[in-house]
Symmetry: C2
Subunit: 164 residues, 2 copies
């Protein structure tokens, strides 16, 4: 449905949106939490920086942070950043003739569905995702405080870089 890079981008941005303001997160940290290959997440973060959705800082203590308030980043922006214009615009049957002349009966119904999908992506923001994710994490058995995962995270606070 969405391309891999798009979904990775959304997840990375959501992760950043969950961090306290001012905190920077390294690529490794994001990759580990979101289970995305690190070298691949680097590439995606770079692209998101170019599209001005996040800022990056090199060197010790460096990392990434959102360039906009999380509630100003909607999913359509992210997807467009990664895929350019969505492949949702044409005839669902990828029929040249049809696209040109509007020949197939799918067009009308499809156009409506497509608009709904675009609207869906446009209204959902990274802030929404972050909020829900936080809430649902809190509901997990054992709650949020000091799961085994968090302990490991603390141990891993040694910085590891993009190359590994």
């Amino acid at each position: 449905m969405l391309s891999r890079p798009s979904t990775y981008a959304i997840r990375a941005l959501t992760y950043l949106a969950m961090q306290p303001p001012g905190k920077l997160s390294g690529s490794r940290e994001i990759a580990d939490h979101e289970q995305i290959p690190n070298s691949y997440v680097c590439k995606i973060l770079l692209e998101l920086r170019r599209k001005r959705l996040l800022r990056s800082y090199k060197g010790i203590g460096g990392g990434y942070e959102l360039a906009l308030p999380a509630d100003k980043i909607n999913l359509l922006m992210v997807v467009r950043s990664m895929e350019g214009e969505l492949a949702l615009t044409e005839c669902i049957l990828q029929d040249q003739q049809c696209s040109a002349r509007g020949q197939c009966s799918l067009h009308d119904s499809w156009a409506e569905l497509r608009n709904q999908l675009l609207h869906f992506l446009e209204t959902q923001t990274v802030a929404d995702l972050a909020r829900t994710k936080k809430t649902r994490l809190g509901e997990l058995p054992g709650g949020r405080s000091q799961g085994p995962r968090d302990q490991i995270d603390q141990m891993n606070h040694l910085s590891i870089n993009c190359r590994t």
Copy 2:
């Protein structure tokens, strides 16, 4: 949105649905009309035959025809024939954790959209597509009768086979 094979399959079936009952169409004929590489359409037609959506006959005068009435073949059947279970079932973010625990806020809205899409595919039949296409062809400037395309078609009535 739909995979290439799915769209080709829908178009090939629609073409067959537009033919007079009892008429067989060769792969070449379908490929030419639908602008699909011939050797590739052969493969797709074979798959559709295996899924019992069409019948085929070898030898002189052979070709393909629908195995069911066109209005009994809906698009969901076709897409499933080509892609197996749709890649629409999971979390739109392809997040393992999320899929398991229902953690992301997209789930509910996405589930609704997904159902609409499935419903859309399920209600549209190959017969519908064929009907609309015929109608719209009729509306074209010059009408249906004897466009240049048709004349070429007649000339091409020499049979050419799958190997070319």
